[in-house]
């Protein structure tokens, strides 16, 4: 418990970056990374849910009886996810239509539940907030980098703007499901090589 708040925050960006190091939350990682826009939207949603649920679980950790803790975590997480869903529907409807089912599915994503159980239930509010924010940003960064790779090569665009000349033939394998697995595998491989030193 000697780690500082800053360390709790930065571990989410590299040492415990969710999809690559913990290999958690892969379902939306594979599904929404077709375009950078979707990935960033999803990332922001996860940052919000993760930070808020971590803070609330840390605040309530003395009150929540350990036998029903999972149920309590799920209620907290589901509440914040629904908040995100309603707000997205009200203010960014086109993004909501693209992300569709993956917003409500954050509830059953392993990351918020995992962090609530493994971290926020045992640590203070500040540390939990830093942990949630760090992991959330790490998740968003992973999604963005993966989607940048897939969108640039698969569709020849970045954030909807064309990056190559008109002669570029999109490598459409990359934006389809198998391309997602291959990209994720390669990213994992690179992360492991870099992390070995």
């Amino acid at each position: 418990m000697a780690k500082s708040i800053a360390q709790e925050f930065t571990k989410g960006l590299w040492a415990e970056i969710p999809p690559f190091r913990l290999v958690l939350g892969l379902c939306p990682t594979l599904a929404v990374t077709k375009s950078v826009e979707n990935a960033v939207g999803m990332g922001i949603a996860v940052i919000f849910v993760l930070t808020c649920s971590n803070i609330l679980v840390a605040m309530l950790r003395k009150v929540i009886p350990s036998k029903v803790r999972i149920a309590c975590f799920i209620i907290v997480i589901a509440t914040f996810v629904t908040v995100v869903e309603l707000l997205m529907q009200a203010y960014t409807y086109s993004l909501f239509m693209k992300l569709g089912i993956f917003i409500p599915l954050i509830v059953v994503n392993c990351i918020p539940l995992g962090r609530a159980e493994a971290f926020a239930y045992k640590n203070g509010i500040m540390a939990s907030a830093a942990d949630g924010l760090g992991l959330g940003i790490g998740y968003a960064l992973s999604l963005s980098s993966l989607s940048a790779l897939r969108e640039v090569f698969g569709a020849g665009t970045f954030f909807g703007h064309a990056v190559f000349g008109p002669s570029f033939q999109p490598f459409s394998f990359m934006v389809e499901a198998p391309g997602a697995f291959v990209c994720l595998g390669l990213m994992l491989c690179i992360m492991n090589v870099l992390g070995k030193k």
């Binding site: 309530l60 209620i75 203010y91 409807y93």
Partner: protein, 200 residues
Amino acid sequence: MREMVKMVVVLTVLCSVSGGLLAALRDGTKDQIENQQLEFVKGPAIRKILVEGAGATNDPIKDRFKIKIGDREESFFVGVVNGKPSLVTFESTGKGFGGNLGLVVGVDVTTDKIAGVAVTTHSETPGIGSRAQTDAKFTKQFVGMPLSGEFKVKSDGGKVDALSGATVTSRGVSGAVTLAAQLYQQAKPQLVEKLKAMNK
């Protein structure tokens, strides 16, 4: 025993707080969400029929009203052509191949003729039934037909040219137009009055 009580209390309180918060938020965002749905789901189809198709000069999404038919309330979107509110669009549904088909039907109130038909929501097979939404030729054939009676595809003895390979979808669209015709007949007296009031 004390632990039991604590568990029940904590879960109950947590659930009610969460439920209350979400209900409040839902109430607060309800109108905004409805506007967004109109804008993004039905808006493009309605504008295509009224603004691009018939040359309406107003924003049909803003000029809308509701009419009670039986126990249902239907929204009507008005198109102003040559300074006169003569066109209306409204929604109808039919049964497609993969589920319900949502349709927007535009009609000229002065002549009772169809001004345009567009599919808004569907769960048809991509590339086959989904052409009902994207193939302009298919929906264009309805333009100019009088909006009354029953609409049937040719293989059922009607006048509608079905999309090849997507007879069920075409039937669904025809059914939705038939339903729209019934709705229109019922709503017409109120509709004419509302439009008259708008004209002043």
